[in-house]
Subunit: 349 residues, 2 copies
DNA sequence: TGTTAGCACTCAGAGAGAACGAGTGCTAAC
DNA sequence: GTTAGCACTCGTTCTCTCTGAGTGCTAACA
């Protein structure tokens, strides 16, 4: 059966009312609420049809209707109107983002935090893999006679460091030698192409300093592996406590624990196609994870540079305000892409 | 009135039973539970006395007794027996801590996380002020013709960095000049003694490069201010959902929000005397914050080095297992002090 | 043919009251 | 000083009824 305009309108009204109030919607309410000028009885007929088609459900005989998962899907695909973020929220976002520039990952973590504050949802953010970036400089800074610090800087300004203690005393000269060696071999090639063999071969280059060098090489390997992987940030997991869906405390707590583990969410996000700035809406059980069957995800990719994309996400109950969520996340995604554009190709700071 | 041994024993039993079950404790239960071999009636007399003295309270006539704040205080000061952390928990802690060495703040954040997992409490950790540490090296790494990265390394291995973009092109020579200038003036003196004047005076040294240098100087100032301040980490705020005290969802949520703000907790921790490794127990309204009147804090200082102390904390309901909490936090404190001892004065890595 | 008024029916939720039982304080006897 | 006995309190739980929002169906209407 094809959905007539009137049915569409009714479905939309029901869904939007339910999103707002979390209460089953009755025919009377719809009849009064708007300009269709139809009697409750007529609305009831239409609602019965919509239920038959699978877009609505009835918690029990004497309750109103509630959107089904298919109902939300139809709404999101065909009925949902565009929403615009309020100026106040935009201002808030801009304020939060205009703080000092810092490490990429920290910027992303902060966006995640702000997004959770603004949207009242649990937010996640995946940092890009840095397998395409290159080590720009590998510095060994002497701290005292028994310790030095290794600092790795990449061409997209990621800095990793680690302190080392040595058994014997070390001197600047040995450190210079090491760092020369390391810089020679490992800089200016993409992280993804650095292999364990390459790193290991360096061990043989200075056998007399092997004791000191091996831990440094392990560190390099660790950093390379780390950068080759994307990272998941999650903020505001306890925002779910704001939704009546999670009024049951045990349910809420175990869901928060499940979320904070991060594994499952990562799994879902991985399936988002890479390489284009776009928004995905995953409703309820569409995510194929029984623990999250009652939740929806809105995902949005963002661009770091031509070789790296990351992903932002909102997690909320199925009955979430998709209009607002989509508009919000798109704003954040755009802002973030823009910010990186500025950082990497923009004017002066 | 002085507390006889029998009264003490009864008080202890009541408190420990209440800590375990969160249910008011009746006379029958105490009479049966243990070897006092007294009848419920006798226990009731004693309980009435203890209530009169202010150590116990009655939620209502027909309920059992519940410890008062004064009761917990007396328990903590005089009755509480030593408890030893289980080997399993210790093992868990050691596993979590033996991962790679990294930035001090990150180690502390991780300890905070592990502590929250092991204890089921909300945990906080204050990183030490680094006002006594010194800038060891200030490096400017050229990234491309229009950008460079400033990296600051302190003598206790803290690394801060920031990316800068320049309007004109820059060359290695100018960067060398800058970094020479900066290193000359700012290294090897304690962070606390670096003044804004000192930083500003550098602006005049190379007027021709002022445009490029000023942002860097601002960054230096920012880092110095940051290091001069202690940082608060908080983990497991939603652990409070595990306690029946927070069965009311709204209460729980607003308390979590209040906690995560961090301000109030910082305020309380500030009052802990610095400079010695010790445990403080702050019960209920003793913390002087109405929002936290229903919670207790266990605080433990730890030592980074002779000039810097930090603080770990557990936050839970007043009815918390003080025995276990104290033992746990002391173990973590000791482990952390030890870890830093190793990092800064220990053998090889 | 679509719309509507009318009506019987369903069922969750609120409220009232009764029964229960855990616990108390007091008294009197041991 | 201790304990058995007993009346009393009061939160909790259960049952029952009542209420009202909402439904589906039927028959009349435009």
């Amino acid at each position: 059966m094809e959905l007539g305009d009137r049915k569409k309108k009714i479905l939309q009204l029901i869904i939007e009312s339910y999103i707002e109030t979390a209460e089953p919607v009755g025919s009377r309410y719809i009849a009064k609420k708007n300009d269709l000028s139809l009697s409750p009885a007529t609305i009831r007929n239409e609602m019965a049809d919509l239920e038959e088609m699978g877009y609505l459900e009835q918690p029990h005989t004497s309750a109103g209707r509630v959107p089904s998962q298919a109902g939300y899907r139809f709404y999101v695909d065909q009925l949902m109107e565009r929403y615009f973020m309020t100026m106040a929220d935009m201002e808030r976002v801009n304020q939060a983002l205009k703080l000092q520039t810092e490490e990429i990952d920290k910027i992303i973590a902060r966006v995640c935090q702000v997004m959770s504050d603004v949207t009242d949802f649990t937010t996640v953010a995946v940092t890009p893999k840095h397998d395409k970036s290159r080590i720009k400089k590998l510095d060994l800074v002497m701290i005292d006679a028994h310790s030095f610090l290794a600092v790795i800087v990449t061409d997209n300004a990621i800095v990793k460091n680690k302190l080392f203690r040595t058994s014997g005393t070390i001197d600047e000269k040995a450190l210079k030698l090491f760092s020369g060696l390391l810089n020679q071999t490992l800089t200016n090639i993409s992280i993804g192409s650095i292999t364990l063999d390459m790193i290991n071969s360096l061990k043989k280059a200075v056998p007399e300093y092997a004791n000191e060098l091996i831990p440094v090489l392990n560190f390099v390997h660790e950093v390379v592996t780390q950068l080759d992987r994307s990272n998941l940030y999650m903020k505001g997991a306890n925002n779910i406590l704001k939704y009546p869906e999670f009024a049951d405390l045990d349910k809420a707590r175990s869901f928060i624990e499940f979320l904070e583990d991060g594994e499952a969410v990562s799994e879902i996000i991985k399936k988002v196609p890479d390489g284009a700035e776009q928004t995905s809406i995953i409703i309820g059980s569409e995510n194929n994870n029984p623990h999250m069957a009652g939740s929806s995800l809105i995902l949005r990719t963002y661009k770091i540079d031509d070789t790296a994309y990351g992903c932002l996400g909102l997690i909320g109950p199925i009955r979430m305000d998709y209009r607002k969520a989509v508009s919000d996340i798109e704003y954040f995604g755009r802002r973030l892409s823009l910010l990186f554009e500025e950082i990497f190709h923009g004017g002066e700071t």
